[in-house]
C-alpha cells in the first residue's frame, strides 16, 4: 500500500477494494462494547488541521484511538500569512518529533503534497483546498457498495459546484477505479476549467442539464454537492432559487428518478443546504443513504490508518 494518501489516484483498484473490505470489519468493531483494536499501539498520529472541521477531525481522532494509536489534535490558523513563518516551518517541529502519521486538512490545494516532501511521517490528506478528499471518496464508495453491491457498471451522477469541490475530484477517481460510470452535472460557470479534455481523458460524461440526465440516462446514485452561498456573490449564478430550479434535487426530480430507478440512492457529503441543492424530502427519503455516509466514515478511516501504518514500510 502507498506510503502517503494524498490523492485518490494513489490507490489502485486492489488497494481500494482492500480498504473497503477492511472497513466492513472495522464497522463491526463499532458495534462492540470494547471498541478497541491493538493494531496501531505505539504509533503517534497528529491531526493537523489548518482548516476547521469538527466532523472530519473527530472522525480521524476516534479512528486513531480505536486502533490504539496516540492521536493528538493540532490546529494552525492560516500560518502561511505570518511574516517569516512558512508552511514548512509549521511542520518542521512535528517532523523533529518522529511521529508516524500526519493527517492534514488545509484550505489550499496541494498543501499535503508539499508537506509530504518535508516530513518523514506518512501524510494523509483530509481535504486540501479544492483539490481532493480521498477518505471522503472511500467512504462514499463504501456506503454505496454496502447498499447496492459491486460498483462495476453502476451509473453515478455528481451534481453541483464542481469547480470548488474536492469531493467531486476524489470521487470521480475512486468511482472510475471501481469501474463505475460517472456523469457530472453543473451550470457552465461551475464546471472546472479544461473539463472537456479532462472528462475525455478520464472517461466520464459532463452535462449542463440535470433533467435530461435523469430522464435519458437515469443514474443508480445521485451525489449532490453542497453549494456555497458565497458563489452567488462571486457571480457564478444569479440566485439560490434559480440554482434550485436548474440543479436542485427537488421532490419532483427524485420522483422522476425513482420512477425509472426504484432502487436509486441519494448521497450528499454534508453539510447540506436543505432547500437549495437538495430538498428536505429527498434528504430524508428512503432513497437517502446520507446518514450511512457519516457512520461509514469512521470505519473507512480506521481501515486507511491500518493499511498505511500497520504493515511493513513501503517505498
Amino acid at each position: 500500500m502507498t506510503r502517503h494518501l494524498l490523492s485518490s489516484a494513489d490507490l489502485s483498484r486492489r488497494d481500494v477494494e482492500t480498504i473497503l473490505d477492511t472497513a466492513a470489519s472495522m464497522h463491526d468493531v463499532q458495534r462492540r462494547e470494547v471498541k478497541k483494536l491493538p493494531t496501531l499501539r505505539g504509533r503517534t498520529i497528529i491531526n493537523f488541521f489548518f482548516e476547521d472541521s469538527t466532523r472530519t477531525r473527530s472522525s480521524f481522532e476516534i479512528a486513531g484511538k480505536w486502533m490504539s494509536a496516540d492521536t493528538i489534535n493540532l490546529s494552525a490558523k492560516g500560518s502561511s500569512t505570518s511574516k517569516g513563518e512558512s508552511l514548512r516551518d509549521s511542520v518542521q517541529t512535528i517532523n523533529a518529533m518522529a511521529v508516524d502519521a500526519l493527517v492534514i486538512r488545509h484550505n489550499q490545494s496541494g498543501a499535503c503534497r508539499q508537506v509530504a516532501g518535508w516530513v518523514a511521517a506518512s501524510v494523509i490528506n483530509a481535504g486540501d483546498g479544492t483539490h481532493e478528499h480521498p477518505t471522503q471518496a472511500l467512504l462514499d464508495a463504501y456506503t454505496l457498495r454496502s447498499r447496492i453491491g459491486a460498483l462495476d457498471g453502476t451509473h453515478v451522477a455528481i451534481v453541483g459546484d464542481l469547480t470548488h469541490s474536492r469531493v467531486f475530484r476524489s470521487n470521480v477517481i475512486t468511482l472510475r477505479t471501481l469501474g463505475a460510470r460517472v456523469t457530472v452535472v453543473a451550470p457552465p460557470t461551475l464546471m472546472p476549467a479544461g473539463i472537456a479534455a479532462w472528462s475525455q481523458r478520464d472517461g466520464f460524461e459532463t452535462s449542463w442539464d440535470l433533467d435530461a440526465v435523469l430522464a435519458d440516462d437515469p443514474p443508480d446514485a445521485v451525489m449532490m454537492l453542497r453549494v456555497q452561498r458565497e458563489r452567488m456573490s462571486g457571480g457564478f449564478f444569479p440566485t439560490a432559487r434559480e440554482y434550485t430550479v436548474g440543479y436542485g434535487l427537488t421532490r419532483p426530480r427524485l420522483a422522476t428518478l425513482l420512477a425509472s430507478r426504484p432502487d436509486a440512492v441519494v448521497m450528499h457529503p454534508g453539510p447540506m443546504n436543505r432547500g437549495l441543492e437538495i430538498s428536505a424530502d429527498a434528504a430524508e427519503s428512503g432513497a437517502s443513504i446520507i446518514l450511512d455516509q457519516v457512520s461509514g466514515g469512521l470505519a473507512v478511516r480506521m481501515a486507511v490508518l491500518y493499511h498505511l501504518l500497520a504493515g511493513e514500510e513501503s517505498e
Binding site: 489550499q108 496541494g110 503534497r113 508539499q114 479544492t130 479544461g194 479532462w198
Partner: protein, 431 residues
C-alpha cells in the same frame, strides 16, 4: 585603468579579431601585436564577442527585502550572466516613485560598479494604480528614468493608463505594462487556467486576462501616439495582437522571459512553488507562439524578470507562495540553447534581442552598441559550444528559487566587461 586585450574573438567582427580596450572604450580592432606589456589579456579563441546584455526587467529587492537580494548581489548575478545594464523594477519597499528613491538606486548601483543599474520608476504612487507618480521629476533626476512600470500590478484603470502614456511623451518615456486584468485574474490566480488548473484545484489565470489588456493598451498607444511596452508577454493571443499592432505602425514593443520560452505549465503538476510565476507558465501552444515571435522579431527583447525570494516566502502552499524565479545567470544559456543551437535564430539575432533592442527601448545609448572603435566597452564574451549544468546552490544571488536546477544548456557566458573593466570571468565575479 590599464588596458584590456581580447584576442581571437569571433562574433560580429567577421574573422576572429583582437580587440584592444582602453579608458573604457574600444580602442582598436584587428590584429593587435603591439599592446603594452601591462595589458590584461583574455584569450577568446572559439568565443563570440557581443555587446553586453541589457535586462529590461529585474527585481533587485533593495530597499526593503535585502534578505532576498541586494543591489550588490543582484549586480553580481547580472555580471555573471553577461549583463552590463539592468533595469530595476520599482516594486521595492518603499516603491521607486520619487526622484530621490530613483537616485538612491542609481547611486548604489554605481558604487557597487558591477553593472549599470538603471531604475525603473513607478507609474502610479505606491503602485496603487490611482494617481500618477512624479514621472517628470524621476525623468529629470540623476537617474534619468525613462521606463515606468507598476510591475507586480497592472495599470488597469484605462484612464490612468491613457494619462500615463500621454504624460511621458515629452521625455521619450515608455510605460512597461504588466498585463493582467484583475477582474479576470485576481491576486489569487496562480496557474494557467486550463485542464491542469482544473484538476489541481488551483485558481486559474486565463490567457485572456493578459490579452485584453494588451489589446486595450496598443489601441491607447495608437490613440495617444505614444510608445508602450508589454512586459513578460506569455500567450499566443497577446502575440497575435502584437503583430496586428505592429502591422499598423503602433509604437509597441514587447519582452519575453527565458522561463516562458523554455518551461511549460506541466511543471506545476506537483504544486512546486519553484515554478510559480506571474504570468504563469503556459502550455506548449503558447510557448511555440512566443518562440516563433522572438525568432521573427515580433517580440523585441528577452528580459529575465529575475525575481529572487527568500526561502521562507516560497515554502508555502502553491497559492500562498511568492511569485517569481531567478533568471539573470541562466538567461543567455537558456535562450542560446533553445533558439540559436536549434537554428531558429542566429547569434546576431540573439544579440539584438538581448542587447541592442533592450538598450534602445530603455534609451541607454552606451549599451547594445555595435562593436567598433570608439564605442563604449560594454561587452560580453560567450562560448556557444560549452554545455553547462545549472547548480542552484552555486549562485551569486542571495536567493535560491531557481527553476533551472540540474538542467543542462549549451551556451555559456565566459566574460563580462563593463566600461572596459572585467566584471566577471569564467563564472567568478570580479569585485
Amino acid at each position: 585603468m590599464s588596458a584590456l586585450l581580447i584576442t581571437g574573438a569571433r562574433g560580429q567582427l567577421g574573422e576572429p579579431s583582437d580587440v584592444l580596450i582602453r579608458d573604457g572604450v574600444i580602442a582598436e580592432i584587428g590584429r593587435i601585436t603591439d599592446a603594452p606589456s601591462d595589458t590584461a589579456r583574455i584569450d577568446a579563441a572559439g568565443l563570440d564577442l557581443l555587446p553586453g546584455f541589457v535586462d529590461l526587467h529585474t527585481h533587485l529587492r533593495e530597499p526593503g527585502r535585502e534578505d532576498a537580494e541586494t543591489i550588490a548581489s543582484g549586480s553580481a548575478a547580472a555580471a555573471a550572466g553577461g549583463f552590463t545594464a539592468v533595469l530595476a523594477m520599482a516594486n521595492t519597499t518603499p516603491a521607486t516613485d520619487t526622484a530621490e528613491a530613483a537616485e538612491l538606486l542609481y547611486d548604489r548601483g554605481r558604487t557597487v560598479g558591477l553593472v549599470d543599474v538603471q531604475p525603473i520608476g513607478a507609474v502610479t504612487k505606491s503602485l496603487a494604480g490611482q494617481e500618477l507618480a512624479e514621472l517628470g521629476l524621476m525623468a529629470r533626476s540623476r537617474a534619468r528614468v525613462r521606463i515606468f512600470s507598476d510591475d507586480g500590478h497592472c495599470v488597469h484603470d484605462a484612464r490612468v493608463m491613457r494619462r500615463a502614456l500621454e504624460y511621458v511623451k515629452p521625455f521619450d518615456g515608455v510605460i512597461s505594462q504588466h498585463a493582467q486584468d484583475p477582474a479576470l485574474a485576481g491576486g489569487a490566480a496562480c496557474c494557467h487556467e486550463g485542464e491542469l488548473s482544473g484538476r489541481l484545484g488551483l485558481p486559474g489565470w486565463p490567457g485572456v486576462a493578459e490579452s485584453v489588456i494588451v489589446a486595450r493598451d496598443v489601441q491607447l498607444a495608437r490613440h495617444t501616439g505614444s510608445r508602450v511596452h508589454i512586459a513578460h508577454i506569455s500567450t499566443a493571443e497577446s502575440v497575435e495582437i502584437l503583430r496586428w499592432a505592429k502591422d499598423r505602425g503602433i509604437l509597441v514593443t514587447a519582452e519575453v522571459t527565458p522561463h516562458h520560452l523554455a518551461l511549460d505549465t506541466e511543471l506545476v503538476r506537483n504544486y512546486d512553488p519553484t515554478f510559480k510565476v506571474n504570468p504563469p507558465l503556459r502550455p506548449s501552444e503558447d510557448q511555440e507562439a512566443l518562440r516563433a515571435a522572438l525568432a521573427d522579431g515580433t517580440i523585441d527583447a528577452v528580459a529575465t524578470d529575475h525575481a529572487p525570494h527568500a526561502r521562507h516566502d516560497k515554502e508555502h502552499t502553491f497559492e500562498a507562495a511568492a511569485f517569481g524565479m531567478l533568471g539573470l545567470e541562466s538567461a543567455f544559456a537558456v535562450v542560446h540553447d533553445l533558439m540559436v543551437r536549434t537554428g531558429r535564430m542566429t547569434m546576431g539575432d540573439l544579440s539584438q534581442r538581448m542587447s541592442r533592442n533592450p538598450a534602445a527601448i530603455a534609451g541607454l545609448s552606451d549599451h547594445g552598441c555595435a562593436i567598433v572603435a570608439g564605442a563604449p566597452a560594454n561587452l560580453v564574451l560567450v562560448d556557444p559550444d560549452r554545455t553547462i549544468t545549472i547548480d542552484a546552490s552555486e549562485s551569486n544571488s542571495l536567493s535560491r528559487n531557481n527553476p533551472w536546477h540540474a538542467m543542462s544548456f549549451t551556451g555559456a557566458v565566459h566574460a563580462t566587461i563593463l566600461r572596459g573593466r572585467l566584471t566577471a570571468i569564467d563564472g567568478k565575479v570580479q569585485q
